[in-house]
């Protein structure tokens, strides 16, 4: 039997931390490069890429790229649009998808299993294949707003929110979680005369904290980071553009890379803040789903 001394334990711990620090540094490099580059003029930024200077705040450092980025694009508007679209979509999605999952798991209606299977099968359909039919559909949909009845959803927030509220992955996450909750709780509530809504509202959802966090995080990252093609084809006015379409403002004939990095740094702030606040839930969500955001 090997004897583990305090020295060898310390050494193993040191090696482990060294490896973790190295891996952590590799993952941090792109972020550090982005932030450091955002303070440099383009010529220096490009010449620094061939050395470690790329990751250091050295040379001609200033906030000029940030000032120029704000002149080039309405960054505040784009960030607001993306945050607004993300928050509304996520809240609505959590509510409606959890309701759907509740129905699939507990209400035992005829055909629910088949419908769930069909819905899950939609996960394999890439969005690109339905983008054009969906565009044609939303461009003719009616809406009753402040100006009365109108047709066409283009150039609105709703066209960037409503098609994304219901999604099979979020329903699936809730279904899996609800299936693991003790059935006795539901049956007891039914015996006590609780309605389905009361069971959903007072029994199931208060126990669903972990899956709510998981679904919210995955959905938020998708809505904030990946919304490009859809807004590109359904939003033609600047007032409703999200951050990813806004990135295009920085790609002119001669790209000013410092400004690109400044823009990317700015739009990363809400994501970093979101991550720092929900760090534990974020890690738990990845561990529980095996899905990287």
């Amino acid at each position: 039997m090997a004897v583990v001394t305090g020295d060898s334990r310390g050494l193993r711990l040191a090696v482990r931390y060294l490896v973790l620090a190295l891996v952590g540094t590799i993952f941090l490099f792109p972020l550090i490069f982005m932030v450091m580059s955002s303070f440099k003029p383009t010529a220096q930024l490009l010449s620094d890429t061939s050395s470690l200077r790329a990751f250091l705040p050295v040379g001609d450092i200033s906030l000029d790229n940030y000032f120029a980025a704000f002149r080039r694009a309405p960054i505040g508007l784009f960030v607001f649009n993306s945050v607004f679209i993300t928050v509304v979509t996520v809240v609505a999605s959590l509510f409606l998808c959890s309701l759907a999952a509740f129905s699939f798991v507990y209400m035992n209606w005829k055909g629910s299993g088949l419908l769930l299977s069909i819905m899950l099968a939609t996960l394999i359909i890439p969005f690109e294949t339905i983008a054009i039919p969906l565009l044609l559909f939303v461009s003719r949909l009616p809406w009753i707003g402040l100006d009365g009845l109108e047709f066409g959803w283009l150039n609105t927030y709703r066209v960037q929110i409503i098609p994304w509220i219901a999604d099979a992955l979020t329903v699936f996450l809730f279904v899996q979680y609800f299936k693991d909750l003790p059935r006795e709780l539901i049956e007891a509530a039914r015996v006590e005369g609780a309605t389905w809504w009361q069971i959903y509202r007072r029994v199931v959802m208060p126990l669903a904290g972990p899956v709510i966090a998981t679904a919210a995080i995955l959905k938020s990252l998708k809505m904030y980071n990946e919304q490009y093609l859809w807004p590109l084809i359904v939003v033609q006015d600047e007032a409703h553009r999200p951050i990813m379409v806004g990135l295009g403002y920085f790609f002119q004939l001669n790209v000013v890379w410092g400004e690109v990095m400044a823009y990317l740094s700015l739009i990363t702030v809400p994501v970093l803040a979101f991550y720092l606040i929900l760090q534990r839930a974020f890690i738990a969500s990845i561990a529980s789903t095996g899905v990287k955001g």
């Binding site: 383009t42 010529a43 490009l46 010449s47 890429t49 002149r71 080039r72 694009a73 054009i132 565009l135 044609l136 461009s139 066409g152 283009l154 590109l232 084809i233 359904v234 033609q236 006015d237 600047e238 379409v245 806004g246 990135l247 295009g248 403002y249 920085f250 790609f251 002119q252 004939l253 001669n254 790209v255």
Partner: protein, 418 residues
């Protein structure tokens, strides 16, 4: 009495109001994020709106990279504006697809315009541009003098042999990473825009322009194969960096002395002038056997097929065609003004100006990319073939495959209306 007068006045104003109101025209533009360009186009719009009482133009700008997709999506959704700007080589596709209608302007206004600024499809004018772009071989006087290389002129450009000898001399000097930078890092439209004229100078082409029905014999004929072998040799012999070129080197390599000659556009000239000043030289394209050629056509204005007010849209475009606006755009964003009169008003393109040579290059050497709706597909096929050959693929096989792909696309689209 007073009340009656107020009521009568209100009715009169109400009646007169609609008659005097300007009809609103919408316009889409690709320049979102370009401060200078936005300021210039907004100035033209403000001037136009103030100049008459019939029309009022409002603009929506898009990021350039997203513009074409946005227009195509809007056309599908029936949401096009009155006035569109369109990239010259894409115009035939949009006209053929029914996104544009013929441009009802007085064509005598554009008689003196550079050929690359006029967009004709099926015998009709669909678009017109305020500027053009051109490509040149950019180098330094001091470099040519140091290595005793003849300075080519528009009348006497380098031959293929002279170009080869110059590149060999520059390579043998060991002073440069590569003697020639073709810009292989700039993927996309740069490839057909910058490289298909070299193919044309060999005598080949992307497609047979007599019929636009096939690329057979043009993209895989003897001349095209000779071009392909020459093209491949540039990379195999270490004359030019290939597809793995660092984009940073493309942007900055010439200014850092890594390359002796850069095949580059006039839009990059201002930055080079800042670095090298009077030592900078813009050389004409070489004559590779069938005359020197460069690409042509940049962004142009047209009227969307959905516009219910083509006469208003055309009135705006005619208004924008004034030399003062052409000159302002050129001074602002560095592109070549469409007319000699406007060129004379600019800092860079007036006689003796640092970029004046580009006006002549555009006038004398420019060749439009294939004027066909199928060009948008052909451009991508050509780009892939050029990259594959640069990476060592068999020249004849690659060009044959490209021809098959282009011909198949033309057939699928029933000849694209030619």
């Amino acid at each position: 009495m007073n009340r009656l007068a107020v009521l009568a006045g209100t009715i009169l104003v109400g009646l007169a109001g609609p008659a005097a109101a300007q009809t609103e025209l919408t316009m889409w533009y690709h320049g979102a994020g370009n401060e200078v360009e936005s300021k210039l186009i907004n100035q033209i719009i403000d001037d136009f709106n103030a100049s008459q009482d019939d029309w009022s133009v409002s603009i929506e700008s898009f990021p350039q990279g997203a513009y074409n997709d946005s227009v195509v999506a809007a056309a599908l959704a029936g949401n096009l504006p009155d006035i569109l700007d369109v990239d010259g080589p894409v115009m035939p596709n949009w006209a053929w697809a029914g996104y544009l209608q013929p441009l009802p302007i007085d064509e005598s206004l554009i008689a003196e315009y550079l050929p690359g600024t006029k967009g004709y499809w099926d015998g009709k004018l669909y678009s017109v541009g305020l500027w053009d772009a051109a490509v040149a071989m950019v180098t330094l006087k001091s470099t040519l003098e140091k290595y005793d290389i003849r300075t080519p002129t528009l009348d006497e450009p380098w031959t293929a042999e002279e170009l080869g000898a110059a590149l060999a001399t520059l390579k043998d000097s060991g002073d440069f990473d590569y003697p020639l930078d073709l810009g292989m890092a700039w993927t996309g439209e740069w490839y057909p825009y910058a490289f298909s004229p070299l193919l044309q100078s060999f005598g080949g082409d992307i497609v047979d322009r007599d019929t636009y029905a096939s690329a057979e014999g043009k993209l895989n004929g003897d001349e095209a194969i000779a071009f392909g072998e020459w093209w491949q040799s540039l990379f195999e012999d270490g004359m030019a960096p290939g597809t793995s070129q660092d984009p940073a080197d493309r942007d900055n390599g010439f200014n850092e002395g890594k390359y002796a000659i850069s095949w580059n556009g006039n839009w990059a000239a201002a930055g080079m002038l800042e670095v090298y000043g009077d030592d900078l030289l813009f050389l004409p394209a070489p004559d590779l056997g069938n005359g020197p050629k460069i690409g042509a056509a940049s962004w142009q204005f047209g009227v969307s097929a959905a516009s219910e007010h083509p006469e208003g849209a055309a009135a705006f475009i005619e208004f924008a065609l004034q030399d003062k606006y052409l000159a302002a755009f050129s001074d602002g964003i560095g592109l070549i003004p469409a007319t000699p009169g406007a060129a004379a008003m600019t800092e860079n393109y007036k006689e003796g100006g640092p970029l004046a040579v580009f006006f002549e290059l555009s006038k004398q050497q420019a060749v439009l990319r294939p004027v066909s709706p199928g060009y948008v597909v052909q451009a991508k096929v050509f780009e892939k073939a050029m990259a594959d050959i640069a990476n060592g693929a068999d020249v004849a096989d690659t060009l044959d495959a490209a021809v098959d792909e282009i011909d198949s696309d033309i057939e699928k689209n029933q000849g694209y209306g030619h």
